[in-house]
Symmetry: C2
Subunit: 425 residues, 2 copies
């Protein structure tokens, strides 16, 4: 069982508890074994606004966890765009519409020149599933390199490259796991994986460019060299921007740019429509053309006019409200505050991140070993103080700080104050 | 190349044409080789309402093709539900919300008792991909039986069971194709496929219960017996209700019920949110539990409150406006009109269907052979008369009549009149 799954277990409702509200019972009855609810005592939410979520009991929670409502919960401009377009026209892309091409034009202007084709899908899973097929069609191989606590989605093919979703299985023969990039060991591990995959044929390396599920490794030493090694071995590089994309790192729209690499394929998802189900895959025209030679690809809901209107509003809000600059500034303030506290707090380990994506390790003060129970207790204590947060990483000991992008210094101070109270008590 | 792909080629924009409007050029630049546009001269759409779509040049088209806006393009009740919920709360399902469980309750009440668990996804593809994994986890096999012109979606795993999306490839070793159900040959073919898959292990048979891509075979002789044969051989039966579901057949909510079978897994999609990207998979609790033992499954956008609000509005509109009864009544009127015309028109072959899903074959008057060019010319001639329609089937010679469900007798008469004019000139 992976660390991510472990820590989740400590912070989720245990169905064996039984009982609970009528709503909770209905949920368990409908969703069955697939039901996963945050917290031992799950929260019923009724309203979202900016960086706040309001529960049915009237309590307001500061959201330091959710990255889908990236420009703020229920942002009025996005809501208005969805409502207006849904009332006017919502169809597939086998007819032409102005809004879809206006969105494609604006989105593609954020990518370096060789990446000029866009396929819109419904979810990051669909985008990654398609990316894998494009890599296979162009490389001729099917071997994939991923990090050891990665999560890329939930389809059959994408589950095989998502170790954090596995409960007992190991990797399939065409999948090689490498550690998160902490030092030169990353490059060495990727080179070794390329060699091991020679027999099945190397297809690609796919990584989240901020290594979220692995515990947030923003600096990623050896990243660019590892990409070069994969290409030298005949593989493609897929940047999964579902987590770092759309300005979260505070260093531009896309996480890969921080590492000075231009991917062969880029996938994006969660924040793309601020909650409207949409995602996308961007690549070079010749890679897409090669794939389309052998199969037709059509996505009924992908890139529909309402998705395009939502996506266009998201891009406009990011620019108008200066959310990339805010992510950079508040993120730095936030990391400095956490680092300052860590220097005085033996249970706090490394603080890592870029922009408003921060990882904070909890460790055993004596041995420095990962301390998942401490992370879990902290998550629950923060909930009691009205703050929503989660964990990540192979050992589940990393607090995943990933709020909506309008998060302010004042919001960061609220979090720091609450965390300080918890850790000094 | 499959017939479905062939016929599409005759009715779509040819990129080699070049030129065209600025919008068309933008589309080709962004979507690259993945771009597929209906008609040699693609239509720019600007508005949808009920059974009508309006183009940029002001021309109104009667929509006899689109099944996603199933309760009518831009239905005000669905639009209002989306706008209201998007402004209030849009989050994942790891918190509880009233609207999600209210929707699950209402939806699950339409299924026979053993089918009581629901997993919500973004697309029919995701639902079918998950269904295949559930079948594999429970059967222990991975062999899949599908019809020879089937389409079930676009993920890596689902593409392998979607022959109509293949251009040159044949089936993978774990996939066996059977013909569409015209007579006792269907049962025999399924029994043979079960035997052939013994070595890799039979997992399931998955069929669209109205066999849309195969050319619409509503009667499907031998269907129930084939399901029994699959089960006797240790496989599960998955009903793909993405096309026939939500009342289209005029015989209740689900197409499988017309055949007196209760599936092990049911998947649904396109019409579920009238255009809002949502889909779902329904199964028995023990099948879902077995699958969840080995893997976590979570879908970020799946079953979010806005999806639930849209889905709830769709169910309410179906009931309030009597759309199932309308599909039955108008469908029968429409089929009778077509059959009447076919008896007088040598180029028209069989008329098949249920409710508002009708297949009309075009044949060579002398030999009775499939006549795809005639179907294609008719589709284009209908466009010139302001009617949108498409084709289906292994040979691409079947007109696929599949309008939004509020389609009236008057709408059917408009179609019949236009078709008569085309076929007698």
């Amino acid at each position: 069982m992976s660390g991510t799954t472990q820590i989740l277990d400590l912070n989720r409702y245990d169905p064996a508890t039984g009982g609970g509200s009528a709503l909770l019972q209905a949920r368990q009855r409908h969703a069955g074994a697939s039901s996963v609810l945050f917290y031992a005592d799950p929260i019923e939410m009724v309203r979202g606004e900016g960086v706040w979520l309001t529960a049915a009991d009237g309590r307001r929670y500061l959201d330091v966890y959710n990255n889908v409502p990236s420009v703020g919960h229920c942002h009025p401009k996005v809501v208005e765009a969805i409502a207006r377009q849904a009332a006017q026209l919502s169809t597939h892309t086998r007819y032409l519409t102005q809004v879809v091409e206006a969105y494609a034009e604006k989105l593609m202007a954020t990518f370096p020149a060789p990446l000029s084709n866009l396929v819109m899908t419904c979810s990051g899973t669909e985008a990654n599933d398609l990316a894998l097929r494009i890599a296979a069609a162009n490389s001729g191989g099917r071997g994939v390199i991923v990090t050891r606590a990665a999560y890329h989605g939930n389809s059959a093919a994408v589950n095989e490259i998502s170790p954090s979703a596995w409960k007992s299985r190991g990797p399939a023969p065409h999948v090689k796991l490498v550690p998160e990039p902490r030092d030169a060991g990353f490059l060495a591990a990727v080179e070794a994986a390329c060699a091991e995959l020679r027999e099945v044929g190397l297809s690609c390396m796919i990584v989240d460019s901020i290594f979220s599920s692995d515990g947030i490794f923003a600096e990623a030493p050896g990243f660019a060299a590892a990409v070069a090694a994969v290409r030298a071995a005949g593989g493609l590089f897929i940047a999964d921007e579902v987590q770092p994309g759309f300005g979260r790192t505070g260093a531009g729209m896309w996480g890969f740019a921080r590492h000075g690499v231009v991917p062969d394929v880029v996938t994006m998802g969660k924040p793309m429509g601020n909650g409207y189900p949409m995602a996308g895959m961007v690549t070079r025209p010749e890679l897409l053309a090669r794939f389309c030679e052998e199969t037709g690809y059509f996505n009924t809901f992908g890139g529909n006019p309402v998705a395009a209107a939502a996506g266009l509003a998201v891009l406009e809000v990011i620019a108008e409200e200066g959310l990339i600059e805010n992510a950079r500034d508040v993120g730095q303030f936030f990391r400095e505050g956490l680092a300052d506290m860590a220097a005085r707090t033996p249970a706090m380990g490394e603080v890592r991140g870029a922009g408003l994506f921060i990882g904070l390790d909890f460790i055993d003060p004596d041995t420095g070993a990962p301390n998942a129970p401490k992370a879990s207790r902290t998550i629950n204590a923060l909930k009691d103080k009205g703050i929503l947060i989660g964990a990540a990483g192979l050992y589940g000991h990393t607090l995943k700080i990933r709020p909506p992008l309008p998060f302010s210094r004042e919001n960061a101070e609220t979090f720091l104050k609450a965390l300080g109270e918890i850790l000094t008590n």
